[in-house]
Symmetry: C3
Subunit: 433 residues, 3 copies
Amino acid sequence: MTERRHTRKFVRTFFTSPTAVEGEDDSAKMIRRAAQLRGMEAPDVWVPDNEDATAPSMRDEGAQNIIDVVSEHGADFPGEIHPRVVWHRDSPTTRHQGFQRMLEMADPDHGAVDHLDGFVIPEVGGIDDWKKADEFFQIIEAEHGLEEGSLAMSVIIESGAAELAMRKLRDEMGKPDNTLERLFLLVDGEVDYTKDMRAITPTGGLPPWPELRHNTSRGASAAGCIAVDGPYDDIRDVEGYHERMTDNQAKGMTGIWSLTPGQVVEANKSPLPPAEGSWLLEADGREVELTTEDGVEVYEGDRVSLEETADGYVLTVGSDEQHLDEDELADELLDMLSYVPSMDDIVDSMEEFEAAKEAGRGAIAITRAATVRIDGIEVEVSNDRMWDEATYQAVQTPITLFQDVYEHRPDQHEDLAELYSEDVVERATNVGN
Amino acid sequence: MTERRHTRKFVRTFFTSPTAVEGEDDSAKMIRRAAQLRGMEAPDVWVPDNEDATAPSMRDEGAQNIIDVVSEHGADFPGEIHPRVVWHRDSPTTRHQGFQRMLEMADPDHGAVDHLDGFVIPEVGGIDDWKKADEFFQIIEAEHGLEEGSLAMSVIIESGAAELAMRKLRDEMGKPDNTLERLFLLVDGEVDYTKDMRAITPTGGLPPWPELRHNTSRGASAAGCIAVDGPYDDIRDVEGYHERMTDNQAKGMTGIWSLTPGQVVEANKSPLPPAEGSWLLEADGREVELTTEDGVEVYEGDRVSLEETADGYVLTVGSDEQHLDEDELADELLDMLSYVPSMDDIVDSMEEFEAAKEAGRGAIAITRAATVRIDGIEVEVSNDRMWDEATYQAVQTPITLFQDVYEHRPDQHEDLAELYSEDVVERATNVGN
Amino acid sequence: MTERRHTRKFVRTFFTSPTAVEGEDDSAKMIRRAAQLRGMEAPDVWVPDNEDATAPSMRDEGAQNIIDVVSEHGADFPGEIHPRVVWHRDSPTTRHQGFQRMLEMADPDHGAVDHLDGFVIPEVGGIDDWKKADEFFQIIEAEHGLEEGSLAMSVIIESGAAELAMRKLRDEMGKPDNTLERLFLLVDGEVDYTKDMRAITPTGGLPPWPELRHNTSRGASAAGCIAVDGPYDDIRDVEGYHERMTDNQAKGMTGIWSLTPGQVVEANKSPLPPAEGSWLLEADGREVELTTEDGVEVYEGDRVSLEETADGYVLTVGSDEQHLDEDELADELLDMLSYVPSMDDIVDSMEEFEAAKEAGRGAIAITRAATVRIDGIEVEVSNDRMWDEATYQAVQTPITLFQDVYEHRPDQHEDLAELYSEDVVERATNVGN
């Protein structure tokens, strides 16, 4: 059985750059520029794109560009490099082209293969189509004297057939006639998926496809792969990109496709815990972040108002008015409040739980307290959350991700230290091990 | 391997009509009336219903009514005809009845089979149950000297088992012991599905079942079938029916069950692009369509307000106030606006992209500009969207649907020309080919 | 083929209690107290928990506690008893421990097995892992001279692999080498599932996982099992617990994990129809329950207002104003209103439909009428809903659930009679049979 070789546990960013255009050499410049990205602007996985981003007539030239640029810059590039080649479940000709370009790029005589971590195969169909691609990886490795499984295979899920194939991976991997253990990223490709599903929206915008993203995340979980969401087209809409990533992360999909170095920066930071904790107040269906002033959390919106009366308080949320005494008020606010812990907070809580476990206790209460000010009135709130082993492990995910980043991306150490402080970074790299 | 014979690529409407009632012959009239529907009132697929819409004791009479009406009117009916027979995964007796009625209706001596395109099988279970139905189709075709696969088989998905079976179609089709290539429509049946899933809602209304609809759409995509949503019971609620169809279309389910000729009209038009484009403004979680007055797009709601000040503008959305200069205002509005293109717009954009491709360019910017008026103040906004081959193909779906309608439904040509103009219809039938 | 033995058709509550703690014997008390719960405080399924709720070092003592308490109190406990043992898809050692503890607890010499209905296996993986657990059940039954299949097996779905395994149950059950027909509950475990899926939320709260719950419900439907949702951690948040249960029930998941006797009471009552019907008015995206005063349904919110004018009415919903005549007003209100039927109402409607069916009619209209008062103005509204056999059967689910409760939980008869009246209880136990 082929051994798994890829060492990343998380991939935050999947960044495609074009490799050739007709006429001018803009994209030859773009691939060269991509190869020189560093720090937060550099993706975890860089995908020199010899498929959609390169005109069909320029793909041979594009493959040569990839070889040239990867040979020259690959050794210094801080992320992994996985070129995308052409492939289509319905076209043997396209598949043959994809095979030939991979064979070419992986040729040791051309100097790029030492820096290539794998290839990305788009437009796959059912599992047997995935096996055809895997077969070409086997041949390429054999022809070029590379170790079996040394080239990772990532796929773009952009058909209903491919979505269905993911559920079979766990059963198919490890069979003697394939080396599907080389599978690395399962990347959603919503534009072509929308076409394949023949979906229509009034504005021509992409449907949200929540079920596809769930199924990709689940498929990755069950088969030891990593799930990555597709591109977010509106590159000016930073807030929308963040909302999409938050939604993805709640589905277990911590990576996303990035179209620009600006998107790479956002996506590299998004799954990391914030440097500062914050309180959120949910009122009338919306969440508002409170502002910290001298240690007091201040609500500045106008959906919620608070008034002191002779015998207690009147709390107004939207059009609902409640008359409450002091304890009831604190309880009511507690229901409306939630806390977003900082990296420091998470590390603190984990350390506290570890110490308790060491001392023989299986569960502890982690307390969060705050003074909240609404319309000038201050209220003390305090919340206990029970932590047991399961809580500890579920909360650990962002820390594990951080540690994976820290191990594989020394070029980001400086940015991380600046974001969190040296001390927090050091404790975060050690906790939970 | 059995060849696929059904030629429709899209089915907008699945219209069931009862075939017999006890006592009076109301439903004998209803089936006769259904057979004479034309134009937008006529469905793409007409389903004379010998199951739920016919009392158990009247089903033999109902089958005879179908034979009579289809023999008489079938040649002139503009859509396809697929009677529904009885079937149940748990009852061999019911399945045998379904078989016998299909055998009867398909008997060439009875004159109806020339106009029958297939049968609809309700209440299927796992894939082996689907194969039992397919076996009866094989026998019927052999007994009656019909070509193998000439009768399409459609199924109603109304159990968890049937939902699970859809994912296997791609693997099972083409095996030597079945002729499942005859599969045509995968139709959700939410009333019985709700029963099978044992779901409860407070009002007794149907749950929305978004995952079922996704899985049906995906199953259709992976197996070359067509997905159709179940009935919308509240036939007075036209707005709700439209919202359901819009939601379905974003899932790749462009067809829906219709219970009345009025619903057929709505459902036939729903997936077609509008005759006029329109701008939508999203404010405070709601979308409002702007009104066009002398080429200006006017906002008439009161969630958004705009005021000019000495040094710029104040834009108020709900309770949020922003102070902006002219460029910032245009940017902010652009984020809130989206454009619903007309058929004409889509054809224009496709032609523009085709010309660019012809000229050797792989991507172009499609611009939409408008003058928007809020509280008497006019703002120029303009948006570029990058189109590449993938965009082009994803946007093409409504055009492909239109072309499918145009090819198969000459009885709707007049309505379409009236809706869009002769010129737009002609260009829309030619673009993309 | 092993026969199915478990007789419950629905399980509302899955209540875990710890079985041992280190040092003090608090949890020995807790298990003893749990064994003595009765009526609405007693769960349908009680799970003495020898996994997460018991510290690793105390699990042998915990297993002994279970044997002691079940031997002593099991005969009188009104629900089923299914202890949870340790298991993990990735650890043969853990699985071996789980096996040994089950073997011990099921030993007839220890006196508990007569009151044990089965065991709960957490942390299962793919279907082959489920079969390993099933194999241990087979061995235990054979070793102890118990009838094959007499011990039910329930599993906790807390990995992507287990989620995928559920879809295979229908195909795997009944194969000669397993006795998976013993499967009883499919219970979601969202904390560990979140960890396995590596999902992240800003606050550390659990993602909603709608697709998992759908898939569990569907898996149960297709394989004749019962779906149960995981724990709701915030035990103070009764409203949130109710919303979660309502959402689950619309997915066909009528059972939920309960962490306290208080949650058991809420969860036991939640899927039962209310004692009193009520009207809901949906306005501006929110539903408000109307207050009944002297037979009139009164709206007391301020999102909707109504005014009489010289020539009709002005209905204002949020910021939308409509001028309507009397009939239009009634129609408009009807669209906004929905009725939540009481147990009595449902029984009435079912009896009415049964009588009609007896008299040879396949469909009838069930009418709901009310006088609604808004801003002092009274409006008569009346709604007909068509009932056919499918409606009847879909609406029957809460009655079937009630009948299942009534049959298996004599200790709740008094509570039910108090809630609904003796008369309604009697009619509800008889209708539909």
